[in-house]
C-alpha cells in the first residue's frame, strides 16, 4: 500500500525553530499510521482558524477548511453533523480559540460533539507580531501591554473539564512520542477531544528552557475520575513555576451530539410531495 503524499507544494513560512513544525510532523505521522491501518484519508478533514497555526491547512495535503479567526469549531461541528463518516480535526491557536472563539469551544465540549481540537498554545499572538493571549503569564510585556498584562491567564484544561469535554490532554512539542499518542487517542475517542499543546514561539515567547525543566509525565490514576483529574489539572495554573504535567488528564464515555442528531434524509421528490401534503392540512 503506497501512502498519500501528505505535504503540499505550498512554501512553508513558519519561523525557524517554530513549534508548529513539530505539530505538523506529528499529525502527519499519525495520519500516515491511520492510513496504513486502513483509514481512507479522503475521510479526514482539517479545519483551522487564523494565525500561525492555521497555515497547517495549506501544508497538509488533506481536505481542509481554512476558516476565519476563532471560528474553526462551529465549522467543524457543521461538517461532522453533515457527514458522520468524516474524522474532523481542528487545529486552532490560543488567541484564536481562547479569546476570539471561546464560546464555540465551550459549547462544542458541552455538546460532546465528536471532533478533535488541537490547540497550538504558544501563549502569544505570533502573526500579529507579539501581543498577550488568554494563556500569557501575568505581567507579560507585549506590544499591546508594554507595562505588562494585569490579568491572570486562564487554565484551559480546567475550563474544558467544567464544560463537559470527554477527552482532556496536554502535550508539549518537545515530547513528540507523547504528543503522537495523545493526538491518536483524541482522534479515536468518540466524543469531544481536546489537547492543549504547549509550543514555543521562537520569535515572541521562547519558553523552551522553562518547559524542558518543568514538564513531567502524569502519574497513573483513574482517568475517568473528574475530581482526581481536576486536582491534577489545577497543579499548574499557566502562571506559577509549578511542575507542568503532560498527558491524558481525563476521559469518559458519553453520548455524542452528532449521533443523537441523526436525521433520515429524504429524496428531493419525496420532500416536494411532503410540502404539498403539508399545504393540504391548511386548506
Amino acid at each position: 500500500m503506497t501512502g498519500r503524499q501528505l505535504v503540499t507544494s505550498a512554501q512553508n513560512t513558519w519561523c525557524p525553530g517554530c513549534g508548529n513544525f513539530t505539530i505538523q510532523h506529528t499529525l502527519k505521522t499519525v495520519l500516515a499510521g491511520m492510513e496504513q491501518e486502513g483509514t481512507r484519508l479522503d475521510d479526514v478533514v482539517l479545519v483551522s482558524g487564523i494565525g500561525c497555526h492555521a497555515k497547517i491547512a495549506d501544508y497538509l495535503n488533506i481536505n481542509s477548511f481554512y476558516a476565519i479567526h476563532g471560528r474553526a469549531i462551529p465549522v467543524a461541528s457543521g461538517i461532522k453533523l453533515a457527514n458522520r463518516e468524516l474524522k474532523v480535526i481542528c487545529c486552532v491557536g490560543d488567541g484564536d480559540v481562547y479569546a476570539e472563539g471561546l464560546d464555540h469551544l465551550i459549547f462544542a465540549a458541552k455538546r460532546n460533539i465528536d471532533i478533535t481540537v488541537i490547540v497550538h498554545d504558544n501563549r502569544v499572538y505570533g502573526l500579529t507580531t507579539g501581543q498577550y493571549t488568554p494563556t500569557s503569564p501575568l505581567g507579560f510585556k507585549g506590544k499591546s501591554t508594554p507595562m505588562g498584562t494585569m490579568e491572570y491567564p486562564l487554565n484551559p484544561l480546567e475550563l474544558m473539564l467544567a464544560s463537559g469535554a470527554t477527552y482532556i490532554a496536554r502535550g508539549y512539542t518537545k515530547k513528540m512520542d507523547l504528543l503522537k499518542t495523545l493526538i491518536r487517542g483524541a482522534i479515536d475517542h468518540r466524543g469531544f477531544s481536546f489537547i492543549d499543546v504547549l509550543q514555543i514561539c521562537a520569535t515572541f515567547l521562547n519558553l523552551t528552557d522553562h518547559y524542558n525543566t518543568h514538564t513531567r509525565d502524569l502519574p497513573a490514576y483513574d482517568r475517568s475520575d473528574a475530581l482526581l483529574a481536576c486536582e491534577k489539572i489545577r497543579e499548574w495554573d499557566y502562571n506559577s513555576g509549578a511542575p507542568i504535567a503532560l498527558g491524558l488528564f481525563y476521559q469518559r464515555k458519553a453520548p455524542t451530539f452528532d449521533e443523537q442528531l441523526q436525521h433520515k434524509s429524504l429524496p428531493k421528490t419525496e420532500r416536494l410531495l411532503r410540502t404539498r401534503e403539508f399545504l393540504a392540512t391548511r386548506q
Partner: protein, 551 residues
C-alpha cells in the same frame, strides 16, 4: 358588489388571540374568501394587549384595513385602544365579565363554568359568538376546529356552541364560492420553499420575527427529513452552516437584523470561499433592539452590502406567501449553482402574516443542478472554467482533496499573495456575478400591477406590495416592484418604466432605501411616501399620503 370583511380580535397575551385569528380566517376560507391576518403584539409573554385583524375579500389581499366590521373583545383595551377602527356599523361582541361596551355581550366565565372548561378556552367562546353573529353555519365550525384545536377539540366545540346559542345573527357574511385556499404564514412559506429547493439542514438562533421559521422547521424536521440546529449564537449559526455546505448539505440560516450583524464575517467568508448558503433575514424596526415585534424595511442596504470585500450575492424580497415559497426554492438553487450567499429578505409583516395561498397557482419550479467534479484527479476546488463556477466535490469523495480557504487562494485552495493569481481569482468571482445577472434575465424579477398605460407609477419592494396593489388598482396607477434586488434588475426595470412620467416610491423606512438603490442605477423617483412607525402601511393611510404628494 365588493366583498370585503374585517374582524378585530383582541385580548391579553395568553388569551389565545393568535389561534383565535387562525380559526376565524379559516372560517372565512371555508366561505370562499381570500384571507389575510395581521397579528400585533408587544414584546412580552403574559398580559399586555394582543390583537389580530382578520380580513376576507373576494380578491387576493396582503394587508389589513384600518377600520373593521366586527370587534371581538376579550379585554377593555380592545375597545379603548382601537377607537379609529370603529365604523357606524361595526358590531362589537365582548366578554361581559371584563369588558363594558355596546353590542352583544356574553359571559365567557359563565360559558366556561357551565361546560367545566379551563380559562384558556375563552377564545373558543368568542369564536362561537362571532360565528353566530356573522351567520356562519355551525357545520363549518365543526369542520375547522379539529385541525386548529387538536387538543380538547370536543370541549372547545361545546364552549363555542354555548356562546353560539347566546347570540343573534346581525351581519351575515355570505358564502362567495367554493374556492378553498391554504392559509400559511410567510415564514411557513419560506420554509416550504426552502424544502422544495432541497434544504436538508436549518441552523438558527431565535430572534423575532424569524423565530417562527425555526419553530416550524424544528417541529416538522422528521416530516421533511431535515436536521435543525440551534447553536450558541449567530456567529456559530453561519459558520456551522458553512460547515454543512462544505460537506455537501443544502443549508439555510435565519435571523433578523441584530443577529445578522453577527453573521457578516461568515457572509464574507462564504463569498471568498465560494460556499453556497441561504440566509433568511426578516426585518423588524431598528436600529438596535428597536421594536422587536414590529415591522420595517430598513435593512435593504445592509443586506445588499454586508461583508468586507467584494463578492457576488443574490438578494430576493418576496411580498407574499406565493412569492416567498417560489423564491425561497429559487434562492437555494441559485446559491448552489453559482456558489454564492443567497438572501431571502423578509419582514415582520410577511413572516408573521397569514396569507391565502393557492397551491394550483404556484409557479413551476425549474431548478438546475450544481456542477459536479468529473472525478479526474487532482481535484481543484477553484478550478478555472470559462464561467467562473468551479465543479463541486465534497470531503469523503474518492481521490478529491477539497480545500476551501478564507485567504486569497489559488485553484487548489492554497493561500497565495501572488498578484497575478489574486487578480485572476477576483475576476473569476466577478464572472459569476455576470453569469448570475444574465441567468436572472429569464426570471420575472420585477412584478407589475395596475393599468400598464398609467403615467404615474408606484415603486415598492417586499410586503408593502399589499397596500400598494390595492391603492394602485383603485387610483388607476401602475405598480412596479423589483422582487430581486441583487443582482439589480436594471434592464427589466428600465423596460417596465417606459411611459412612466411620475414615479413614487413607497417604503417602510425613513430614508428611501429602494429609491437610493434606484438612483444608483440611474432611475430617479419623483416623490417618496415613507412610513416608519413599526406598523404596516394600510391602503387608507397610503391613500392619504399619496394625496399629500399630489396624486
Amino acid at each position: 358588489m365588493v366583498q370585503d370583511i374585517s374582524i378585530l380580535v383582541g385580548g391579553k397575551a395568553g388569551d389565545g388571540i393568535n389561534s383565535a385569528s387562525a380559526v376565524i380566517a379559516q372560517l372565512l376560507n371555508q366561505l370562499g374568501y381570500y384571507t389575510y391576518i395581521y397579528f400585533d403584539y408587544p414584546s412580552l409573554i403574559r398580559g399586555g394587549h394582543n390583537f389580530a385583524i382578520i380580513r376576507g375579500s373576494d380578491t387576493p389581499i396582503g394587508v389589513h384595513k384600518t377600520t373593521v366590521d366586527f370587534v371581538l373583545a376579550l379585554n377593555q383595551d380592545t375597545i379603548a385602544n382601537h377607537k379609529m377602527r370603529f365604523k357606524e356599523t361595526t358590531l362589537t361582541i365582548f366578554n361581559s365579565d371584563v369588558v363594558k361596551a355596546e353590542g352583544q355581550g356574553i359571559s365567557v366565565n359563565g360559558v366556561l363554568k357551565t361546560e367545566n372548561a379551563p380559562v384558556i378556552m375563552g377564545n373558543s367562546a368568542i369564536i362561537g359568538a362571532f360565528a353566530k353573529a356573522a351567520g356562519i353555519p355551525w357545520d363549518i365550525i365543526i369542520k375547522v376546529f379539529p385541525a386548529y384545536i387538536p387538543k380538547g377539540t370536543e370541549i372547545n366545540l361545546r364552549v363555542a356552541r354555548r356562546a353560539f346559542d347566546q347570540v343573534t345573527p346581525v351581519y351575515p357574511v355570505e358564502s362567495i364560492g367554493s374556492r378553498r385556499l391554504c392559509l400559511i404564514t410567510g415564514n411557513e412559506a419560506i420554509g416550504l420553499g426552502l424544502i422544495a429547493g432541497g434544504l436538508s439542514a436549518y441552523v438558527s438562533y431565535p430572534m423575532t420575527p424569524s423565530s417562527s421559521l425555526l419553530h416550524f422547521l424544528a417541529e416538522n424536521a422528521q416530516r421533511f427529513g431535515i436536521t435543525v440546529v440551534h447553536p450558541e449564537n449567530e456567529i456559530a449559526v453561519i459558520l456551522m452552516a458553512l460547515g454543512f455546505s462544505y460537506a455537501g448539505e443544502r443549508v439555510a440560516v435565519g435571523t433578523s437584523g441584530g443577529g445578522f450583524c453577527l453573521m457578516t464575517e461568515g457572509v464574507s467568508l462564504a463569498g471568498m470561499a465560494e460556499i453556497p448558503v441561504v440566509l433568511v433575514v426578516s426585518q423588524r424596526t431598528g436600529p438596535s433592539t428597536g421594536l422587536p415585534t414590529y415591522t420595517a424595511q430598513s435593512d435593504l442596504h445592509f443586506i445588499v452590502n454586508a461583508g468586507q470585500g467584494e463578492f457576488p450575492r443574490f438578494v430576493v424580497a418576496p411580498g407574499d406567501t406565493r412569492e416567498a415559497y417560489y423564491w425561497s426554492a429559487v434562492a437555494m438553487d441559485v446559491a448552489w449553482r453559482y456558489q454564492v450567499p443567497a438572501f431571502i429578505l423578509a419582514d415582520k409583516t410577511l413572516s408573521e402574516g397569514t396569507f391565502s395561498l393557492d397551491p394550483a397557482d404556484l409557479p413551476e419550479l425549474s431548478l438546475g443542478e450544481p456542477i459536479d467534479w468529473d472525478g479526474k484527479p487532482p481535484y481543484r476546488r477553484y478550478a478555472e472554467t470559462g464561467s467562473g463556477v468551479s465543479p463541486l466535490a465534497f470531503p469523503g469523495t474518492n481521490g478529491a482533496v477539497v480545500k476551501v480557504n478564507s485567504y486569497a487562494h489559488d485553484e487548489f485552495g492554497i493561500t497565495t499573495e501572488d498578484s497575478g493569481v489574486v487578480t485572476q481569482m477576483t475576476r473569476k468571482r466577478m464572472r459569476k456575478a455576470a453569469l448570475l445577472a444574465e441567468a436572472m434575465e429569464t426570471f420575472s424579477t420585477v412584478s407589475t400591477d395596475g393599468p400598464a398605460n398609467a403615467g404615474t407609477a408606484l415603486v415598492c419592494w417586499g410586503s408593502v406590495q399589499g397596500a400598494c396593489r390595492e391603492v394602485a388598482r383603485e387610483l388607476g396607477l401602475r405598480l412596479i416592484k423589483p422582487v430581486v434586488l441583487s443582482p439589480f434588475p436594471e434592464l427589466l426595470l428600465n423596460r417596465t418604466l417606459q411611459g412612466v412620467r411620475r414615479l413614487i416610491a413607497v417604503e417602510e423606512n425613513s430614508t428611501g432605501q429602494l429609491a437610493a438603490l434606484l438612483r444608483f442605477h440611474g432611475i430617479t423617483v419623483d416623490a417618496m411616501v415613507l412610513h416608519y412607525d413599526g406598523r404596516p402601511i394600510t391602503p387608507d393611510i397610503l391613500m392619504d399620503r399619496l394625496r399629500e404628494v399630489g396624486v
